[in-house]
Subunit: 157 residues, 4 copies
């Protein structure tokens, strides 16, 4: 697997954090060409992003509980090979470190043999839910998480 | 409106071809944050792409009738402002000229005041439906269309 | 067209109110069997229901502005003939009169020749948004509408 | 749990066959009222139906491999309580015996405490894929399955 980098990380940044989910292509996700419609990848990708965010304590609900919403600012998919009905795929999400108040995730779709079927990324901003102002720093509640990340103390098996 | 270019066109290429569709955000397209879920943009974008492709005689069905399928190879969205329930938006699609056998579309979402809400692009390949081989040249049936385009003879609307 | 009645109306009830929307089947709504997936009818039906509710001043937003949400309690579809890609269909919604606090809609899908492709209905309850209690009477704001309906004064062309 | 019967089975018919799937409500399946949109139940229901059909050797693909498609003729949902974001639900599917060439499934949604959240059913016909004629008898390949069912030899744990 060729190394693909959508994000550049600052000097000395900790390694990305990652997790995977597995999902089987549904009948209604397949288009008349017999392959998964390109627009459905967003839902598979969200499954992986949500799984990783929740494990790290920085999911939608965690942010929301602290008055912050995290809208998607950028979304990208590179489709390499088609997904087909009834097949099960791994979707791996990785969170990349950044000092700015952003969630930079990338994604890899793999079939059961480990073949890369698609890649992509998403960027989310952080917005104060009350005044709709953009946050320029990670909110207070995420500091312990960021500290642990930098110290290599996060253990996602 | 700042000029945004996702695609570079060769020297002397004809101007992009464009059309617009209009669509109102449905109740079930709005997420718990009160805005249209980012994954639904693919469907709005497809509406605009299909409208333009069909007008030009190079839609899904046109290709399929000539034994060619046109899978999406790349998909990208930049979200600038949120779409909300019940509001009607314009989605403008533009097809960019390229000598290689690709469909390079970009997209702009506008609200009723003309404000740009989102931008994006998609790249589609052309694949022989029988042997699944990639086409390196535009198929025969598209030649008159390409010729007319280069000669500035295509009149949309 | 055979007369189909999903709802019984009380003696002396006014005639149902109706409107139609038109919608074309999208590429991603068609399943591998080449027909519209049965689960997508709910969205077409909602388009028609929303159109009629909004025209009558008793749409989602109208109820919500008066502190009432209107969850779907029952949903039913009878599929008679398949909908296919790129074809445009009429979806007719009718609201049936009832004294109880319910929205009883039925639906008919028609192709361009007037052939009935599907029929269905939905029942919605009315719930106080604050205390989540079920309403047993139509809320105050709907009274003038109900009165006009009973007096045959509603003109939906 | 009150006994609910959508289907009547003939005298001496074998007991329904059943299986369950589990699914968590996604962010994009929740509507602005904070509950799962009623139209998404069809996908949850299909997950359960597909799981049971595949286990029994009478899934979409099994029929299709024998030249038969199984379009949905009727679909019904009774919504009893709302499904909410991030919660995991059991969807139980049961297949009811019938002599005619139909697939009669019913469905029950349960939360983690066993509370019934929704119920529904679907009826599918069997259609010859080539000539589009309706089948009046179960196709040949399903006979051993039906025989085993009648003899109580199917063991779905």
């Amino acid at each position: 697997m060729k190394k693909i980098t959508y994000f550049t990380t600052p000097e000395g940044a900790p390694e990305p954090l990652e997790t995977s989910v597995f999902r089987t292509v549904r009948f209604n996700e397949v288009d008349p060409m017999g392959i998964m419609w390109h627009g459905h990848y967003a839902s598979f990708i969200e499954d992986a992003r949500v799984a990783l965010g929740d494990k790290l304590g920085i999911g939608y609900q965690d942010f929301y509980n602290h008055g912050v919403v995290i809208p998607v600012r950028q979304f990208h998919v590179d489709y390499l090979a088609s997904l087909t009905y009834g097949k099960r795929y791994e979707i791996k999400a990785r969170l990349f470190y950044t000092d700015s108040a952003r969630l930079n995730y990338d994604f890899t779709f793999l079939d059961e043999t480990g073949r890369v079927m698609a890649r992509g990324y998403s960027v989310q901003l952080m917005v104060n839910e009350q005044d709709k102002n953009l946050l320029f720093e990670w909110p207070e509640f995420t500091r312990p998480f960021l500290q642990n990340w930098k110290e290599g103390k996060i253990n996602l098996k």
